[in-house]
Amino acid sequence: MLQRVWTIARWTMVELLRERVLYVVLLFAAVLVGGSTVLTPLTPGAQKKVVVDLGLAAIDALGILVILLSGTSIVRRDMDRRSLDVLLTKPLTRLEYLGGKWLGLVATLLVLTVAMSVILITSLEACGFGWQARYLPAILGSGLGMLVMASIAVLFSTFTSPMLGALFTLALFVGGSLSEGMLRTVGAAGGNPLLESLSLAIPNMGLFNLRGDAVHGTGVVPGQFLVASCYAVLYVATALTLAATVFRRRDFR
Protein backbone atom coordinates (compact mmCIF):
# COMPACT_ATOMS: atom_id res chain seq x y z
CA MET A 1 0.00 0.00 0.00
CA LEU A 2 2.69 2.49 1.00
CA GLN A 3 4.60 1.80 -2.19
CA ARG A 4 1.56 2.63 -4.31
CA VAL A 5 0.84 5.83 -2.34
CA TRP A 6 4.49 6.80 -2.69
CA THR A 7 4.38 6.12 -6.45
CA ILE A 8 1.37 8.40 -6.90
CA ALA A 9 2.90 11.09 -4.67
CA ARG A 10 6.26 10.97 -6.42
CA TRP A 11 4.95 11.37 -9.95
CA THR A 12 2.38 13.96 -8.88
CA MET A 13 5.20 16.02 -7.43
CA VAL A 14 7.36 15.60 -10.54
CA GLU A 15 4.50 16.78 -12.71
CA LEU A 16 3.58 19.77 -10.54
CA LEU A 17 7.19 20.86 -10.24
CA ARG A 18 7.59 20.77 -14.01
CA GLU A 19 4.35 22.57 -14.52
CA ARG A 20 4.06 25.68 -12.42
CA VAL A 21 6.21 25.71 -9.38
CA LEU A 22 9.35 26.85 -11.12
CA TYR A 23 7.52 29.93 -12.38
CA VAL A 24 6.19 30.62 -8.87
CA VAL A 25 9.71 30.52 -7.43
CA LEU A 26 10.86 32.94 -10.09
CA LEU A 27 7.85 35.15 -9.31
CA PHE A 28 8.82 35.05 -5.63
CA ALA A 29 12.35 36.20 -6.40
CA ALA A 30 10.95 38.98 -8.57
CA VAL A 31 8.47 40.09 -5.86
CA LEU A 32 11.17 40.09 -3.23
CA VAL A 33 13.76 41.96 -5.25
CA GLY A 34 11.26 44.35 -6.82
CA GLY A 35 9.35 44.97 -3.59
CA SER A 36 12.49 45.56 -1.56
CA THR A 37 13.87 47.96 -4.15
CA VAL A 38 10.66 50.00 -4.20
CA LEU A 39 9.68 49.87 -0.53
CA THR A 40 12.91 50.12 1.43
CA PRO A 41 13.72 53.73 0.42
CA LEU A 42 10.22 54.68 1.64
CA THR A 43 10.72 53.22 5.09
CA PRO A 44 13.95 54.57 6.50
CA GLY A 45 14.96 52.72 9.65
CA ALA A 46 12.59 49.80 9.03
CA GLN A 47 14.02 48.38 5.81
CA LYS A 48 14.85 45.03 7.39
CA LYS A 49 11.31 44.61 8.75
CA VAL A 50 9.86 45.45 5.35
CA VAL A 51 12.01 42.92 3.52
CA VAL A 52 11.30 40.17 6.09
CA ASP A 53 7.57 40.92 6.17
CA LEU A 54 7.36 41.05 2.40
CA GLY A 55 9.32 37.81 2.05
CA LEU A 56 7.26 35.89 4.61
CA ALA A 57 3.98 37.21 3.17
CA ALA A 58 5.07 36.24 -0.33
CA ILE A 59 5.88 32.69 0.82
CA ASP A 60 2.37 32.45 2.21
CA ALA A 61 0.63 34.01 -0.78
CA LEU A 62 2.52 32.07 -3.44
CA GLY A 63 1.93 28.79 -1.59
CA ILE A 64 -1.79 29.55 -1.70
CA LEU A 65 -1.46 30.47 -5.39
CA VAL A 66 -0.01 27.04 -6.17
CA ILE A 67 -2.80 25.39 -4.17
CA LEU A 68 -5.43 27.37 -6.09
CA LEU A 69 -3.84 26.68 -9.47
CA SER A 70 -2.82 23.06 -9.01
CA GLY A 71 -4.46 21.66 -5.89
CA THR A 72 -8.04 22.45 -6.81
CA SER A 73 -7.69 20.60 -10.12
CA ILE A 74 -5.51 17.77 -8.90
CA VAL A 75 -8.16 15.04 -9.29
CA ARG A 76 -10.29 16.64 -11.97
CA ARG A 77 -7.35 16.98 -14.35
CA ASP A 78 -6.62 13.28 -14.04
CA MET A 79 -10.27 12.64 -14.86
CA ASP A 80 -10.27 14.91 -17.90
CA ARG A 81 -7.16 13.45 -19.45
CA ARG A 82 -8.19 9.85 -18.66
CA SER A 83 -5.15 9.26 -16.47
CA LEU A 84 -7.48 8.49 -13.59
CA ASP A 85 -9.04 5.62 -15.54
CA VAL A 86 -5.64 4.11 -16.14
CA LEU A 87 -4.52 4.57 -12.53
CA LEU A 88 -7.70 3.21 -10.97
CA THR A 89 -7.62 0.12 -13.17
CA LYS A 90 -4.25 -0.73 -11.67
CA PRO A 91 -4.27 -2.55 -8.31
CA LEU A 92 -4.76 0.72 -6.46
CA THR A 93 -7.60 1.69 -4.12
CA ARG A 94 -9.27 5.07 -4.44
CA LEU A 95 -8.07 5.92 -0.94
CA GLU A 96 -4.46 5.19 -1.89
CA TYR A 97 -4.85 7.35 -4.99
CA LEU A 98 -6.27 10.28 -3.04
CA GLY A 99 -3.66 9.98 -0.29
CA GLY A 100 -0.92 9.90 -2.92
CA LYS A 101 -2.24 12.98 -4.68
CA TRP A 102 -2.42 14.93 -1.42
CA LEU A 103 1.06 13.84 -0.41
CA GLY A 104 2.39 14.81 -3.85
CA LEU A 105 0.84 18.26 -3.51
CA VAL A 106 2.23 18.66 0.01
CA ALA A 107 5.70 17.53 -1.12
CA THR A 108 5.55 20.10 -3.94
CA LEU A 109 4.60 22.84 -1.47
CA LEU A 110 7.47 21.75 0.77
CA VAL A 111 9.96 22.04 -2.08
CA LEU A 112 8.48 25.41 -3.00
CA THR A 113 8.62 26.73 0.56
CA VAL A 114 12.22 25.57 1.02
CA ALA A 115 13.23 27.18 -2.30
CA MET A 116 11.53 30.48 -1.40
CA SER A 117 13.07 30.42 2.10
CA VAL A 118 16.52 29.96 0.62
CA ILE A 119 15.91 32.95 -1.67
CA LEU A 120 14.72 35.00 1.32
CA ILE A 121 17.77 34.07 3.41
CA THR A 122 20.08 34.84 0.51
CA SER A 123 18.40 38.23 -0.03
CA LEU A 124 18.62 39.12 3.67
CA GLU A 125 22.29 38.17 3.76
CA ALA A 126 22.98 40.03 0.53
CA CYS A 127 21.34 43.19 1.90
CA GLY A 128 23.38 42.88 5.09
CA PHE A 129 20.29 42.33 7.29
CA GLY A 130 21.15 38.77 8.29
CA TRP A 131 18.88 35.77 8.86
CA GLN A 132 17.49 35.15 12.36
CA ALA A 133 16.14 31.93 13.83
CA ARG A 134 12.96 33.67 15.00
CA TYR A 135 11.78 33.85 11.36
CA LEU A 136 11.57 30.07 11.19
CA PRO A 137 8.29 29.63 13.17
CA ALA A 138 6.64 32.07 10.76
CA ILE A 139 7.66 29.89 7.80
CA LEU A 140 6.56 26.73 9.63
CA GLY A 141 3.25 28.43 10.42
CA SER A 142 2.81 29.19 6.72
CA GLY A 143 3.60 25.54 6.01
CA LEU A 144 0.88 24.38 8.42
CA GLY A 145 -1.59 26.74 6.79
CA MET A 146 -0.66 25.33 3.37
CA LEU A 147 -1.27 21.79 4.65
CA VAL A 148 -4.78 22.77 5.68
CA MET A 149 -5.55 24.61 2.44
CA ALA A 150 -4.09 21.76 0.37
CA SER A 151 -6.46 19.28 2.02
CA ILE A 152 -9.41 21.63 1.37
CA ALA A 153 -8.36 21.97 -2.27
CA VAL A 154 -8.12 18.19 -2.66
CA LEU A 155 -11.58 17.84 -1.08
CA PHE A 156 -13.10 20.27 -3.62
CA SER A 157 -11.24 18.66 -6.51
CA THR A 158 -13.02 15.36 -5.83
CA PHE A 159 -16.45 16.71 -6.71
CA THR A 160 -16.33 20.08 -8.43
CA SER A 161 -14.70 21.85 -11.37
CA PRO A 162 -11.26 23.46 -10.94
CA MET A 163 -12.75 26.94 -11.27
CA LEU A 164 -15.43 26.44 -8.63
CA GLY A 165 -12.95 24.56 -6.45
CA ALA A 166 -10.52 27.49 -6.67
CA LEU A 167 -13.31 29.96 -5.82
CA PHE A 168 -14.46 27.93 -2.80
CA THR A 169 -10.90 27.39 -1.59
CA LEU A 170 -10.09 31.08 -1.96
CA ALA A 171 -13.30 32.02 -0.14
CA LEU A 172 -12.39 29.70 2.74
CA PHE A 173 -8.86 31.08 2.83
CA VAL A 174 -10.03 34.69 2.93
CA GLY A 175 -12.83 33.89 5.40
CA GLY A 176 -10.44 31.88 7.54
CA SER A 177 -7.85 34.66 7.55
CA LEU A 178 -10.43 37.23 8.68
CA SER A 179 -12.51 35.02 10.98
CA GLU A 180 -10.56 35.72 14.19
CA GLY A 181 -10.87 39.46 13.84
CA MET A 182 -14.50 39.28 12.79
CA LEU A 183 -15.40 37.07 15.75
CA ARG A 184 -13.66 39.47 18.11
CA THR A 185 -15.67 42.35 16.68
CA VAL A 186 -18.93 40.39 16.76
CA GLY A 187 -18.19 39.17 20.31
CA ALA A 188 -17.64 42.73 21.46
CA ALA A 189 -21.03 43.61 20.01
CA GLY A 190 -22.84 40.88 21.96
CA GLY A 191 -22.11 37.81 19.78
CA ASN A 192 -23.86 36.11 16.87
CA PRO A 193 -24.53 32.35 17.21
CA LEU A 194 -24.72 31.83 13.42
CA LEU A 195 -21.35 33.43 12.76
CA GLU A 196 -19.82 31.61 15.70
CA SER A 197 -20.98 28.19 14.45
CA LEU A 198 -19.88 29.05 10.91
CA SER A 199 -16.43 29.93 12.18
CA LEU A 200 -16.05 26.34 13.43
CA ALA A 201 -16.25 25.03 9.86
CA ILE A 202 -14.03 27.70 8.31
CA PRO A 203 -10.31 27.07 8.90
CA ASN A 204 -8.91 29.55 11.38
CA MET A 205 -5.98 30.71 9.28
CA GLY A 206 -5.13 33.38 11.84
CA LEU A 207 -3.68 30.59 13.98
CA PHE A 208 -0.97 29.98 11.38
CA ASN A 209 -0.06 33.62 10.85
CA LEU A 210 3.02 34.05 13.02
CA ARG A 211 4.59 36.73 10.85
CA GLY A 212 3.92 39.61 13.24
CA ASP A 213 5.81 37.91 16.04
CA ALA A 214 8.70 37.08 13.72
CA VAL A 215 8.99 40.55 12.23
CA HIS A 216 8.60 42.51 15.43
CA GLY A 217 10.80 40.15 17.40
CA THR A 218 8.23 39.32 20.08
CA GLY A 219 8.87 35.60 19.53
CA VAL A 220 6.38 32.78 19.20
CA VAL A 221 5.12 31.12 22.39
CA PRO A 222 5.72 27.30 22.04
CA GLY A 223 2.13 26.60 23.15
CA GLN A 224 0.85 28.76 20.29
CA PHE A 225 2.73 26.65 17.76
CA LEU A 226 1.54 23.41 19.39
CA VAL A 227 -2.09 24.54 19.22
CA ALA A 228 -1.66 25.51 15.56
CA SER A 229 -0.09 22.09 14.78
CA CYS A 230 -2.87 20.13 16.53
CA TYR A 231 -5.52 22.24 14.81
CA ALA A 232 -3.88 21.64 11.41
CA VAL A 233 -3.70 17.87 11.95
CA LEU A 234 -7.35 17.75 12.98
CA TYR A 235 -8.49 19.90 10.07
CA VAL A 236 -6.45 17.97 7.51
CA ALA A 237 -7.76 14.64 8.85
CA THR A 238 -11.36 15.86 8.66
CA ALA A 239 -11.02 17.32 5.15
CA LEU A 240 -9.27 14.21 3.79
CA THR A 241 -11.83 11.88 5.39
CA LEU A 242 -14.59 13.87 3.72
CA ALA A 243 -12.68 13.81 0.42
CA ALA A 244 -12.22 10.02 0.68
CA THR A 245 -15.92 9.53 1.42
CA VAL A 246 -16.95 11.58 -1.62
CA PHE A 247 -14.33 10.04 -3.90
CA ARG A 248 -15.14 6.45 -2.91
CA ARG A 249 -18.75 6.93 -3.97
CA ARG A 250 -18.04 8.64 -7.30
CA ASP A 251 -18.86 7.20 -10.70
CA PHE A 252 -16.48 8.09 -13.50
CA ARG A 253 -18.06 8.51 -16.94
Binding site: W11, R82, T89, D251
Partner: protein
Protein backbone atom coordinates in the same frame (compact mmCIF):
# COMPACT_ATOMS: atom_id res chain seq x y z
CA UNK B 1 -15.13 -17.50 -17.81
CA UNK B 2 -13.00 -14.37 -17.85
CA UNK B 3 -15.81 -11.93 -17.34
CA UNK B 4 -19.53 -11.92 -16.87
CA UNK B 5 -22.11 -9.16 -16.55
CA UNK B 6 -25.65 -10.11 -15.68
CA UNK B 7 -28.74 -7.94 -16.00
CA UNK B 8 -26.81 -4.68 -15.54
CA UNK B 9 -28.88 -1.52 -15.21
CA UNK B 10 -27.20 1.85 -15.14
CA UNK B 11 -28.44 5.41 -15.26
CA UNK B 12 -26.71 8.77 -14.95
CA UNK B 13 -28.04 12.12 -13.83
CA UNK B 14 -27.09 15.19 -15.77
CA UNK B 15 -27.86 18.88 -16.06
CA UNK B 16 -28.99 21.44 -13.55
CA UNK B 17 -32.29 19.63 -12.99
CA UNK B 18 -30.43 16.35 -12.39
CA UNK B 19 -32.42 14.52 -15.06
CA UNK B 20 -31.85 10.78 -14.91
CA UNK B 21 -30.99 8.97 -18.14
CA UNK B 22 -30.97 5.22 -18.35
CA UNK B 23 -27.88 4.05 -20.25
CA UNK B 24 -27.92 0.28 -19.75
CA UNK B 25 -31.13 -1.74 -19.63
CA UNK B 26 -30.42 -5.22 -18.30
CA UNK B 27 -27.17 -5.82 -20.16
CA UNK B 28 -25.82 -9.39 -20.23
CA UNK B 29 -22.32 -10.18 -21.41
CA UNK B 30 -19.98 -13.09 -20.91
CA UNK B 31 -16.57 -13.75 -22.44
CA UNK B 32 -14.48 -16.89 -22.29
CA UNK B 33 -10.71 -17.05 -21.95
CA UNK B 34 -8.82 -16.61 -25.23
CA UNK B 35 -11.60 -14.73 -27.01
CA UNK B 36 -11.23 -11.41 -28.81
CA UNK B 37 -14.59 -9.74 -28.32
CA UNK B 38 -15.66 -6.49 -29.98
CA UNK B 39 -18.34 -4.30 -28.49
CA UNK B 40 -20.07 -2.35 -31.25
CA UNK B 41 -22.78 0.25 -31.17
CA UNK B 42 -23.73 3.78 -32.09
CA UNK B 43 -22.57 6.74 -30.02
CA UNK B 44 -24.35 6.66 -26.68
CA UNK B 45 -25.23 2.99 -26.99
CA UNK B 46 -23.44 2.27 -23.70
CA UNK B 47 -20.14 0.73 -24.83
CA UNK B 48 -17.87 2.83 -22.62
CA UNK B 49 -20.27 2.61 -19.68
CA UNK B 50 -20.22 -1.18 -19.98
CA UNK B 51 -16.42 -1.19 -19.91
CA UNK B 52 -16.36 1.23 -16.97
CA UNK B 53 -18.72 -0.90 -14.93
CA UNK B 54 -16.64 -3.92 -15.70
CA UNK B 55 -13.48 -2.14 -14.53
CA UNK B 56 -15.03 -0.74 -11.36
CA UNK B 57 -14.88 2.88 -12.54
CA UNK B 58 -18.67 3.10 -12.38
CA UNK B 59 -21.11 1.14 -10.26
CA UNK B 60 -24.22 -0.49 -11.69
CA UNK B 61 -27.62 0.50 -10.29
CA UNK B 62 -28.46 -3.19 -10.22
CA UNK B 63 -27.19 -6.46 -11.62
CA UNK B 64 -24.11 -8.49 -10.88
CA UNK B 65 -20.91 -9.59 -12.52
CA UNK B 66 -17.44 -10.94 -12.13
CA UNK B 67 -14.06 -10.14 -13.58
CA UNK B 68 -11.27 -12.74 -13.71
CA UNK B 69 -13.10 -14.79 -11.11
CA UNK B 70 -13.52 -11.90 -8.64
CA UNK B 71 -16.48 -9.62 -7.95
CA UNK B 72 -16.61 -6.35 -9.92
CA UNK B 73 -14.36 -3.67 -8.42
CA UNK B 74 -12.02 -6.17 -6.75
CA UNK B 75 -8.52 -4.69 -6.49
CA UNK B 76 -6.64 -8.00 -6.89
CA UNK B 77 -8.30 -8.74 -10.26
CA UNK B 78 -6.97 -5.46 -11.62
CA UNK B 79 -3.41 -6.77 -11.31
CA UNK B 80 -4.23 -9.18 -14.13
CA UNK B 81 -5.75 -6.72 -16.61
CA UNK B 82 -4.60 -3.91 -18.84
CA UNK B 83 -6.81 -1.02 -19.90
CA UNK B 84 -6.59 1.64 -22.58
CA UNK B 85 -9.21 4.43 -22.23
CA UNK B 86 -10.74 6.33 -25.12
CA UNK B 87 -8.91 9.46 -26.32
CA UNK B 88 -6.36 9.69 -23.52
CA UNK B 89 -3.92 12.55 -23.08
CA UNK B 90 -2.33 11.24 -19.86
CA UNK B 91 0.32 13.10 -17.83
CA UNK B 92 1.56 15.74 -20.21
CA UNK B 93 4.62 16.71 -18.20
CA UNK B 94 6.03 13.17 -18.01
CA UNK B 95 8.12 11.53 -20.71
CA UNK B 96 6.95 8.32 -22.39
CA UNK B 97 9.43 6.27 -20.37
CA UNK B 98 8.47 7.97 -17.08
CA UNK B 99 4.81 7.32 -17.78
CA UNK B 100 5.50 3.62 -18.17
CA UNK B 101 7.60 3.62 -14.99
CA UNK B 102 4.67 5.28 -13.20
CA UNK B 103 2.34 2.47 -14.28
CA UNK B 104 4.94 -0.16 -13.43
CA UNK B 105 5.30 1.26 -9.91
CA UNK B 106 1.59 0.75 -9.31
CA UNK B 107 1.81 -2.81 -10.58
CA UNK B 108 4.70 -3.47 -8.20
CA UNK B 109 7.13 -4.05 -11.07
CA UNK B 110 10.74 -3.05 -10.63
CA UNK B 111 14.31 -4.21 -10.81
CA UNK B 112 16.61 -4.44 -13.80
CA UNK B 113 14.08 -6.40 -15.87
CA UNK B 114 11.67 -3.44 -15.77
CA UNK B 115 13.93 -1.26 -17.92
CA UNK B 116 14.18 -4.09 -20.47
CA UNK B 117 10.41 -4.57 -20.43
CA UNK B 118 9.83 -0.84 -20.99
CA UNK B 119 12.35 -0.81 -23.85
CA UNK B 120 10.65 -3.83 -25.40
CA UNK B 121 7.19 -2.24 -25.19
CA UNK B 122 8.35 1.13 -26.53
CA UNK B 123 9.97 -0.73 -29.41
CA UNK B 124 6.80 -2.74 -29.99
CA UNK B 125 4.58 0.35 -30.26
CA UNK B 126 7.24 2.13 -32.33
CA UNK B 127 7.95 4.83 -29.77
CA UNK B 128 11.56 3.95 -28.90
CA UNK B 129 12.83 7.17 -30.46
CA UNK B 130 10.32 9.23 -28.44
CA UNK B 131 11.01 7.59 -25.09
CA UNK B 132 12.45 10.80 -23.58
CA UNK B 133 9.85 13.10 -25.11
CA UNK B 134 7.21 14.64 -22.86
CA UNK B 135 3.69 13.48 -23.63
CA UNK B 136 2.45 16.98 -24.44
CA UNK B 137 4.78 16.95 -27.44
CA UNK B 138 3.53 13.61 -28.75
CA UNK B 139 0.80 13.35 -31.37
CA UNK B 140 -2.59 11.88 -30.53
CA UNK B 141 -1.73 8.62 -32.25
CA UNK B 142 1.57 8.34 -30.38
CA UNK B 143 -0.17 8.87 -27.02
CA UNK B 144 -2.70 6.22 -28.02
CA UNK B 145 0.12 3.76 -28.79
CA UNK B 146 1.82 4.64 -25.51
CA UNK B 147 -1.47 3.92 -23.76
CA UNK B 148 -1.44 0.52 -25.37
CA UNK B 149 2.10 -0.07 -24.12
CA UNK B 150 1.08 0.78 -20.54
CA UNK B 151 -1.89 -1.58 -20.84
CA UNK B 152 0.51 -4.37 -21.77
CA UNK B 153 3.03 -3.57 -18.99
CA UNK B 154 1.98 -6.27 -16.57
CA UNK B 155 1.54 -8.93 -19.29
CA UNK B 156 -2.19 -9.02 -18.51
CA UNK B 157 -4.54 -11.96 -18.96
CA UNK B 158 -7.29 -9.59 -20.06
CA UNK B 159 -6.83 -6.54 -22.25
CA UNK B 160 -9.68 -4.01 -22.28
CA UNK B 161 -9.43 -1.36 -24.99
CA UNK B 162 -11.90 1.50 -25.43
CA UNK B 163 -11.85 2.62 -29.08
CA UNK B 164 -8.20 1.61 -29.57
CA UNK B 165 -8.16 2.53 -33.27
CA UNK B 166 -9.54 6.06 -32.91
CA UNK B 167 -7.08 8.76 -33.89
CA UNK B 168 -4.67 6.32 -35.48
CA UNK B 169 -3.30 6.49 -39.01
CA UNK B 170 -3.39 3.31 -41.16
CA UNK B 171 0.03 2.02 -39.91
CA UNK B 172 -1.08 2.71 -36.34
CA UNK B 173 -4.31 0.78 -36.88
CA UNK B 174 -2.37 -2.11 -38.32
CA UNK B 175 -0.09 -2.06 -35.29
CA UNK B 176 -3.07 -2.27 -32.93
CA UNK B 177 -4.63 -5.06 -35.03
CA UNK B 178 -1.38 -7.00 -34.94
CA UNK B 179 -1.07 -6.52 -31.20
CA UNK B 180 -4.59 -7.82 -30.62
CA UNK B 181 -3.87 -10.83 -32.85
CA UNK B 182 -0.64 -11.45 -30.93
CA UNK B 183 -2.53 -11.41 -27.65
CA UNK B 184 -5.03 -13.88 -29.06
CA UNK B 185 -2.26 -16.18 -30.21
CA UNK B 186 -0.79 -16.08 -26.70
CA UNK B 187 -4.15 -17.23 -25.31
CA UNK B 188 -4.99 -13.83 -23.77
CA UNK B 189 -8.47 -12.40 -23.78
CA UNK B 190 -9.18 -9.08 -25.48
CA UNK B 191 -12.31 -6.99 -25.11
CA UNK B 192 -12.58 -3.78 -27.08
CA UNK B 193 -15.11 -1.26 -28.28
CA UNK B 194 -14.86 0.21 -31.74
CA UNK B 195 -16.62 1.80 -34.68
CA UNK B 196 -14.18 0.48 -37.27
CA UNK B 197 -15.92 -2.65 -38.46
CA UNK B 198 -13.36 -3.81 -40.97
CA UNK B 199 -10.86 -4.25 -38.14
CA UNK B 200 -13.39 -6.24 -36.14
CA UNK B 201 -13.76 -8.76 -38.95
CA UNK B 202 -9.99 -9.24 -39.01
CA UNK B 203 -9.17 -9.62 -35.32
CA UNK B 204 -12.27 -10.76 -33.43
CA UNK B 205 -13.76 -14.09 -32.60
CA UNK B 206 -17.07 -12.59 -31.49
CA UNK B 207 -18.81 -9.25 -31.59
CA UNK B 208 -21.76 -7.87 -29.69
CA UNK B 209 -23.86 -5.02 -31.01
CA UNK B 210 -25.23 -2.74 -28.31
CA UNK B 211 -28.51 -1.02 -28.93
CA UNK B 212 -30.77 0.69 -26.41
CA UNK B 213 -28.52 -0.27 -23.53
CA UNK B 214 -28.30 -4.00 -24.05
CA UNK B 215 -26.58 -6.46 -26.35
CA UNK B 216 -29.05 -6.61 -29.25
CA UNK B 217 -27.11 -9.13 -31.32
CA UNK B 218 -24.08 -11.29 -30.84
CA UNK B 219 -22.16 -12.50 -33.86
CA UNK B 220 -19.63 -15.26 -34.07
CA UNK B 221 -17.42 -13.91 -36.84
CA UNK B 222 -15.95 -17.26 -37.88
CA UNK B 223 -19.47 -18.47 -38.63
CA UNK B 224 -20.32 -15.21 -40.33
CA UNK B 225 -17.57 -15.48 -42.89
CA UNK B 226 -18.35 -19.16 -43.49
CA UNK B 227 -22.10 -19.03 -43.79
CA UNK B 228 -23.36 -15.82 -45.22
CA UNK B 229 -22.78 -15.99 -48.96
CA UNK B 230 -25.77 -14.05 -50.26
CA UNK B 231 -24.85 -14.14 -53.92
CA UNK B 232 -22.04 -15.16 -56.26
CA UNK B 233 -20.40 -12.91 -58.82
CA UNK B 234 -19.29 -14.72 -61.98
CA UNK B 235 -17.07 -12.97 -64.51
CA UNK B 236 -17.02 -14.60 -67.94
CA UNK B 237 -15.36 -13.56 -71.22
CA UNK B 238 -15.79 -14.65 -74.85
CA UNK B 239 -19.59 -14.83 -74.76
CA UNK B 240 -21.65 -13.49 -77.63
CA UNK B 241 -24.72 -11.32 -77.00
CA UNK B 242 -27.22 -14.08 -77.79
CA UNK B 243 -25.69 -16.40 -75.14
CA UNK B 244 -25.46 -13.52 -72.71
CA UNK B 245 -29.22 -12.85 -73.05
CA UNK B 246 -29.97 -16.56 -72.56
CA UNK B 247 -27.77 -16.81 -69.43
CA UNK B 248 -29.18 -13.57 -68.03
CA UNK B 249 -32.43 -15.45 -67.39
CA UNK B 250 -30.60 -17.44 -64.68
CA UNK B 251 -28.88 -14.38 -63.12
CA UNK B 252 -30.11 -11.70 -60.72
CA UNK B 253 -28.28 -9.02 -62.73
CA UNK B 254 -25.92 -8.77 -65.69
CA UNK B 255 -23.37 -6.15 -66.66
CA UNK B 256 -21.23 -6.12 -69.82
CA UNK B 257 -17.92 -4.25 -69.97
CA UNK B 258 -16.35 -4.81 -73.38
CA UNK B 259 -15.72 -8.54 -73.82
CA UNK B 260 -16.30 -9.24 -70.13
CA UNK B 261 -19.72 -10.04 -68.68
CA UNK B 262 -20.43 -9.94 -64.93
CA UNK B 263 -23.29 -12.13 -63.71
CA UNK B 264 -24.64 -11.81 -60.17
CA UNK B 265 -26.42 -15.01 -59.31
CA UNK B 266 -28.00 -16.71 -56.29
CA UNK B 267 -25.62 -19.29 -54.74
CA UNK B 268 -28.01 -22.10 -55.68
CA UNK B 269 -27.98 -21.05 -59.37
CA UNK B 270 -24.22 -20.44 -59.65
CA UNK B 271 -23.27 -23.99 -60.67
CA UNK B 272 -25.90 -24.12 -63.45
CA UNK B 273 -25.00 -20.69 -64.87
CA UNK B 274 -21.29 -21.49 -64.86
CA UNK B 275 -21.86 -24.78 -66.71
CA UNK B 276 -24.09 -23.08 -69.29
CA UNK B 277 -21.53 -20.32 -69.86
CA UNK B 278 -18.72 -22.83 -70.41
CA UNK B 279 -20.93 -24.91 -72.74
CA UNK B 280 -21.56 -21.77 -74.79
CA UNK B 281 -17.81 -21.29 -75.28
CA UNK B 282 -17.31 -18.70 -72.55
CA UNK B 283 -14.17 -18.53 -70.41
CA UNK B 284 -14.35 -18.15 -66.61
CA UNK B 285 -12.34 -15.12 -65.46
CA UNK B 286 -13.34 -15.13 -61.79
CA UNK B 287 -15.96 -16.41 -59.38
CA UNK B 288 -16.49 -14.62 -56.09
CA UNK B 289 -19.05 -15.21 -53.34
CA UNK B 290 -20.51 -11.96 -51.94
CA UNK B 291 -20.98 -12.25 -48.19
CA UNK B 292 -22.96 -10.15 -45.77
CA UNK B 293 -20.39 -7.94 -44.11
CA UNK B 294 -20.42 -7.04 -40.47
CA UNK B 295 -21.31 -3.56 -41.59
CA UNK B 296 -24.49 -4.84 -43.29
CA UNK B 297 -25.57 -6.58 -40.09
CA UNK B 298 -24.53 -3.66 -37.91
CA UNK B 299 -26.59 -1.23 -39.95
CA UNK B 300 -29.53 -3.59 -39.97
CA UNK B 301 -29.45 -3.96 -36.18
CA UNK B 302 -28.94 -0.23 -35.70
CA UNK B 303 -32.04 0.41 -37.83
CA UNK B 304 -34.24 -1.89 -35.80
CA UNK B 305 -36.61 -0.13 -33.49
CA UNK B 306 -39.80 -2.10 -32.85
CA UNK B 307 -39.95 -5.43 -30.99
CA UNK B 308 -41.58 -6.94 -34.08
CA UNK B 309 -38.68 -5.89 -36.25
CA UNK B 310 -36.29 -7.27 -33.65
CA UNK B 311 -38.08 -10.61 -33.75
CA UNK B 312 -37.91 -10.65 -37.54
CA UNK B 313 -34.20 -9.91 -37.40
CA UNK B 314 -33.70 -12.69 -34.83
CA UNK B 315 -34.98 -15.22 -37.35
CA UNK B 316 -32.65 -14.08 -40.08
CA UNK B 317 -29.27 -13.88 -38.29
CA UNK B 318 -27.61 -17.25 -38.58
CA UNK B 319 -24.50 -16.82 -36.44
CA UNK B 320 -24.34 -16.33 -32.70
CA UNK B 321 -27.98 -15.40 -32.47
CA UNK B 322 -29.88 -12.50 -30.97
CA UNK B 323 -30.66 -11.95 -27.35
Amino acid sequence: MVLRLQNIQKSFTSGFLMRRRQVLHGLDLSIEAGEAYALLGANGAGKSTTLRILLGLARPDSGSGSLLGKPLGDCAARRRLGYLPENPTFHEQLTAREFLRYGAGLLGLGGPELAARIDELLERVELASASQTRLRKLSKGMVQRLGLAQALLGDPELLVLDEPMSGLDPPGRKLVRDLILEQRQQGKTVLFSTHILSDVEVVCTRAGILRDGCVATELCLDDLTRLRAESVELTVSALDERDERRLALLAQSTLRAGRIVHFTVAPSEAQELLQAALDAGGRLESMQPRRASLEDIYLEVARLRSPAAAAKRRDSVPAGGDR
